[in-house]
Amino acid sequence: MTMKKNNKKLKIFVYTLLIIYSIFTLAPFLWSILTSFKTTAEIAAGGTILPENWSLKGYETVLASQLPTWVVNSLLVALLTTGINLIFNTMAGYALARIDFKGRHVLFSMLLALIMIPSQVTMIPLYIVVSKLGLVDTHWSIILTTMINIGYIFMMRQFFVNFPRDVEEAATMDGLSKIGTFFRIVLPNAKAAVATQAVFVFMGVWNEFMKPLLFISSPDKYMLTQGLNSLAKAYKTATQWDVIMAGALISIIPIFIIYIVLNKYFITSNDQTAGVK
């Protein structure tokens, strides 16, 4: 009886903590949503929690700025980069797991060493390489320097280590070449792992700040994160936080939609980018 009572108390305690943390998580977002619908005058005055007059001025200003161009830029770059990553990371992971070629253990150790090098060490020489290749201020600078990810190569390798061999062997017997087997049999069977990868590569590019900052300088080629920063700089002095918050919220929406649709692929420990946020 006392056991049961204790259990109930404990449950209430657990729920209370979780509810408090959830509110704590949502509060900054709710506050920025409310802010985005206020007028600049109201924001400058401090004022109430709910907008006194609901206003779309912030959104109108943002949509009339270059923000729509930046959204398109980010969308194109992120989609292309994701597609390239999926194919190349999966191929490399597959080779490391399944093809018994000479030197694969050496390559694996080399990748293991390279993944530990912090991006700051290579940042400046990478900038020089990019500029020597004539890629500065083009979207290719981001696409090409992000076209593979060692973390996801490892994730795919792990997946293929555990993937049943007989499926592939049957396909090879049916006369499919290795590359044919890969695209027709292996990839479709790796759907879950590939989706996880896709979600995180897309999100990584969409949210990336440092590379665009280094490589891209023309405002019409800005990526969204970089554009947001310049937007904030322009509107901050006039306390037009309605405009800035509208921009920030618009930038979150695409990821949020993917999150709702592909929820199960997001909540995994496989995100290779989160540690360095």
Partner: protein, 293 residues
């Protein structure tokens, strides 16, 4: 033996795109970095002069370096322990056989989705001089607190923001570790009369040790590299009074504001060495602890 060669050919053709990308965008820059550290490089003229260890000497004599050193270490020392503890505690709460745990998880995960730039702007607005936090401080305690323009508070805002946005990720990592702990261990502890808190301390925490190493290591690596938030919050200056100047931000300033790419690369090398050394030492200490305990 034709099969052997065929396998080699296949293996390398599957690896080729990845290897080329790694060669051009990782290995070449790494090798290049090793040379650049010892040169004075001017990106505009392309002129290079060998100056030996001069870049390093200048770095260690530079008060801005020591400011970034102190800021980054303070940042790491505060953020890594707090985010690890909160993430572990929340994961344990979510794993305690409650209803709606998926719902809580879905909500709590949201900050991880948000880009550092959007998140920083949201926090800048929260902590702005006429923002919500400042107004709350004034109404509750009658204090006028200026978070972002006060050198002793600006970095704290970045710390809070980082904890807020990385906790959900590490919470999910812990959660997957928790689900691997066999129920029999908890049952045995129950028979010994342990309450929930004792079970957490004597079963959950030791069983999660390998995951905790991973979380701490990733946390250290990530925190030492903090850049985006400091850059956006300070408009790239590292101000007020260098209080948000981090290693990475100073590297950026040296390379792209002062145009001293050699010294910037040398500083990046110092940062890389510190990250390696600290993660190595921390892992050695924690692992030694695990063996003894």
């Amino acid at each position: 033996m034709g099969n052997r060669r065929y396998l080699n050919f296949q293996g390398y053709s599957f690896m080729m795109p990845a290897l080329l990308a790694i060669l051009f965008f990782t290995i070449v820059p790494v090798v290049y970095a090793f040379f650049m550290m010892f040169y004075k490089v001017d990106i505009l003229s392309g002129a290079r002069t060998f100056i030996g260890l001069d870049n390093f000497r200048k770095i260690f004599e530079d008060p801005k370096f020591w400011a970034s050193f102190t800021n980054t270490f303070r940042y790491v020392l505060v953020v890594v322990p707090i985010q690890t503890v909160i993430a572990m505690a929340l994961a344990a709460l979510l794993n305690s056989k409650i209803n709606f745990s998926r719902g809580f998880l879905t909500i709590m995960f949201i900050p991880t989705l948000t880009s550092s730039s959007a998140m920083t702007l949201i926090f800048m607005w929260l902590f702005n001089n006429n923002g919500l936090m400042a107004n709350m401080m004034e109404q509750l305690f009658g204090m006028k607190v200026e978070f972002l323009t006060n050198p002793s508070l600006a970095l704290t805002v970045i710390m809070a923001m980082n904890i807020f946005s990385t906790v959900p990720h590490f919470m999910v990592v812990f959660l997957s570790g928790l689900q691997d702990i066999p129920d029999s261990l908890y049952e045995a502890a129950s028979l010994d009369g342990a309450n929930s808190f004792k079970k957490f301390l004597h079963v959950t925490v030791p069983q999660l040790m390998p995951i905790t190493f991973y979380v701490i290591t990733m946390g250290l690596v990530g925190c030492f590299q903090i850049f985006d938030q400091a850059f956006i919050l300070s408009g790239g200056t590292g101000g007020p009074q260098n209080s948000t100047l981090t290693f990475s931000l100073y590297i950026y300033q040296l390379a792209f504001t002062s145009n001293d790419m050699g010294r910037a690369t040398a500083l990046a090398f110092v940062l890389g060495t510190i990250i390696f050394a600290v993660t190595y030492i921390v892992n050695k200490l924690l692992k030694a602890d695990e063996v003894n305990g």
